[in-house]
Amino acid sequence: AQTVTQSQPEMSVQEAETVTLSCTYDTSESNYYLFWYKQPPSRQMILVIRQEAYKQQNATENRFSVNFQKAAKSFSLKISDSQLGDTAMYFCAFMKPFFGNEKLTFGTGTRLTIIP
């Protein structure tokens, strides 16, 4: 079974600074997907970024980028120029793809607070 570990329960950073959230995972699979989801106070789960394990290039989405280290099974999220709206819980998630019932396995989350 896959496991996802987020070792930072809480983090805070000043507005406009850069912050990195850590995530490690354990799997014996060679092909899989990794995600970062954001859960603001509204509680809706919003996709931030996705990484396919077969791609060596790190995914980027505007101010959000990942550092994917497949051998180390590490998948960190970097938020540049942080904004007050980035305040949220951030969840790292793993999905093993196969036809039919793909399922997400989540970490326990990191609560990020952006300080004005």
Binding site: Y33, F35, Y37, S42, R43, Q44, M45, I46, L47, R50, E52, F91, M95, P97, G100, N101, E102, K103, L104, F106, G107, T108, G109
Partner: protein
Amino acid sequence: SQTIHQWPATLVQPVGSPLSLECTVEGTSNPNLYWYRQAAGRGLQLLFYSVGIGQISSEVPQNLSASRPQDRQFILSSKKLLLSDSGFYLCAWRDREGGNTIYFGEGSWLTVV
């Protein structure tokens, strides 16, 4: 574009009462559908998933059940709620035609009193 809606957004129910949370997806056909639960201060736990009408797989034995009466409709139910059923419930979907991302609804807060 695809959208997902679930309701009610907030629910306060007494112990022993029934439950029905509903979720619908628009703009896609034959999606995979999921129910997740998030207990206070914890991560998400997959409860049920469905790959088609009438096809339900349960991940965790519990007091809840799920049904998929139509292609884009997913219902979470209970005949008698327990205090431990309190939490935040999220419906989610995935496009089976090549989609490798799971998208979530707005969520439903359930408080059992």
